[in-house]
Symmetry: C2
Subunit: 411 residues, 2 copies
């Protein structure tokens, strides 16, 4: 064993007690009391691992161990320890505690890195509380937006107030914390949050990149009327139109998308949403992702055509609002190559797969090369107390993280 | 003019002031303070019309004028004066005040009926408050269900308490108030609440019957997952399945239904309804109506097949719950014949059309023959402050109600 699996398991279990809900769930909202408590505990583990730890002006917990060649660009490892309001115990934590374990084991194994290493537990990755996430990492990368400290949670508390309550003096002057060239590589381990590794029956995978989503909100407007009295040919039923679009979009992605294209309508609102009134207005979201940008663009154009033609044929007005447009961000080939060599030595038979969900690594990709390791999780369930990953799989993933980190830190 | 249009207009306008919302809307929930105030005012107009008025143990306002042949089955006219929470000023009131106007005008025109006449403002037709309507008329007809006085509104007030607050001692011993044979005919005038008369450019129509709805709730269950990470072939997306069913159902009714068939999915809930999570569960309502019971049954069977096949092809579990199954209730031919003769004399050129929505008349149909008159309303809008009918059209409709009532009351 390259790492100490028992210690890692104990840390994961102890952390899961903070903000525990039910038997297996966790609620550690960003900057909350539970989040603060978790940061304190994890800071202690960093120190035990030989890291010098601090909490910065964005709420990030950062530990550092100096290398023998302090002028070289550093190696950064990390993930997050905040959670969804109704979340699981592995999302973020496996990677954050795994990174600490890597440094701890290096020390115990007598390995002194050439490059300095930082381990970061990024603040507010999830974004549930202020409806905007990957906050801490955007602070470090200089990618915060105007007025971000004034965003309010459901109780009306601003992020600025929440950070103060958390014990941090919000300090935007620290953004960006890194310049291009400061970091040699960023490595993140995360549970897959998808079913591909389980389906392939493999414990660990190497990530090819994070596919950026296009997020749209589509609104269709027809005309309400009594379900019993408006003859079928006179109807302008927004829900029938929406149904036609959703069905055709699904078919489009399934038949014309690449293997990595995914398209989802996950949220829908119907007005007035009464069983005996024809739907006047329907609003639904579109989530379209692909690691292949060209393939995504082609499907997006066809979706617009479907919306336009369907609206016309059902006599509806339509409106498309673009909420987010992210580009795919690819993992660095040289990091993937190292991972590939190391996983072969470890006999993991790790396949390469893309990441649909985003991660802190998405933002890190704008300031340095990055690589990611996925760990199999049960049925792909995440953001749910039912989230589960076998300890054995996590150990294998952290083993690969260790081997990769040792290679890069000594290069 | 057979009736006094100015008085009718004044009454409609005065009643619209009670519970007025916005410029043209009305909120007079059943048994509320506003409802009580309305009943008091309308009771006064009944008395001015020569009716002896009382409020019964269900909250119905009943006025009676004795005929010269008191042993004959009576004629009943009426509708309701309660409203939707966000309702209009013509739904129910046109027929209720129109009925009073008929009796008032008969007296002024020196017509003494042979049959006694009762005018009823039925209590709680709308059903919004206790989620179950046509209460007063079901009380009169002996069609109340177990525990109906214990139903609660959103504030937790039971119907029993609400009726007491309204000033009535709930008295179920008065149900049924009529036996078969007591009533010769029931006549109700109502705004159409649909677009057919407007489309045909006619002020008034004769109703052929009330088409009963089948109300179903369909639940589809698939499997949630992250929108970015579950490959398309592995998905069990409940919203895609629901969309396919809704689109096919719409097509089925449009292509295989009769001219009078209407099918609607008006309400839908998506779980967890998050833009980046595949829909795990979708629940939607089905409303299927036809005056032709055989045609309706044929389509219903085909709908079940669509649900079954679609669920299978999208790997979803499905469940169908039957909430309501009403049979069509036809207007009496002899009453329609009288109406037809009278509308021809009045030069109304009234078409015959069915009623999709139900009315108090639906329940009256179980204890006597009935007839209904529809008045054109703008764009078919109802249950909305935008509800609008031209005074001229209402007067024509009440004129036909008058002529029909005179014929029947003297027969």
């Amino acid at each position: 064993m390259l790492i100490n699996g028992d210690r890692l398991k104990r840390h994961l279990e102890e952390l899961a007690e903070i903000g525990k809900i039910g038997e297996t769930g966790v609620c550690r909202l960003a900057h909350s009391k539970e989040d603060r408590q978790a940061v304190e505990v994890v800071k202690g583990w960093m120190e035990e691992a030989g890291l010098t730890a601090k909490i910065d002006g964005f709420g990030n917990l950062i530990g550092r161990v100096e290398g023998t060649e302090p002028d070289k660009p550093i190696l950064v490892l990390g993930s997050h320890i905040d959670s969804q309001p109704y979340g699981g115990r592995f999302d973020g934590t496996a990677g954050a505690l795994g990174a600490i374990e890597v440094v701890h084991s290096m020390r115990e194994n007598g390995i002194t890195p050439a490059r300095s290493i930082e381990v970061i537990c990024f603040s507010d990755e999830e974004g549930s509380r202020f409806n905007k996430g990957i906050f801490g990492v955007r602070g470090l990368a200089g990618m915060l937006e105007e007025g971000e400290l004034e965003r309010k949670d459901k109780q009306g508390i601003t992020r600025r107030e929440a950070l103060k309550e958390f014990g941090v003096e919000p300090d935007l002057s620290g953004s960006p914390a890194y310049q291009k060239g400061d970091i040699e590589a960023f490595l993140e381990l995360h549970i897959e949050q998808g079913p591909v590794l389980e389906q392939k029956n493999r414990p660990v995978g190497i990530v090819s990149g994070i596919s950026g989503p296009i997020w749209l909100t589509v609104t269709l407007e027809g005309f309400a009327g009594h379900a019993g009295s408006v003859p079928m040919p006179m109807r302008q039923d927004a829900l029938v139109g929406a149904s036609e679009i959703i069905r055709k979009f699904d078919e489009l992605v399934k038949t014309e998308g690449s293997e990595t294209t995914v398209g989802t309508v996950g949220s829908m609102q119907v007005f007035p949403n009464s069983r005996n009134i024809i739907a006047e207005k329907v609003e639904f979201t579109v989530d379209l992702r692909d690691i292949d940008l060209e393939a995504r663009t082609k499907l997006e154009e066809k979706l617009y055509k479907i919306i336009e033609e369907t609206s016309a044929s059902f006599d509806l007005k339509s409106e498309i609002k673009e909420d987010t447009r992210s580009e795919p961000r690819y993992c660095a080939d040289w990091i993937k190559d190292i991972m590939k060599e190391e996983e072969e030595k470890l006999g993991l038979d790790a396949p390469t797969l893309m990441s649909g969900p985003f991660h802190d690594a998405l933002i890190m990709s704008y300031i340095c090369d990055y690589g990611m390791i996925f760990v199999r999780c049960e049925k792909g369930i995440s953001h749910n107390p039912l989230e589960f990953a076998e300890m054995e799989d996590i150990e294998k993933g952290v083993g690969l993280l260790y081997a990769t980190a040792v290679r890069i830190s000594q290069s």
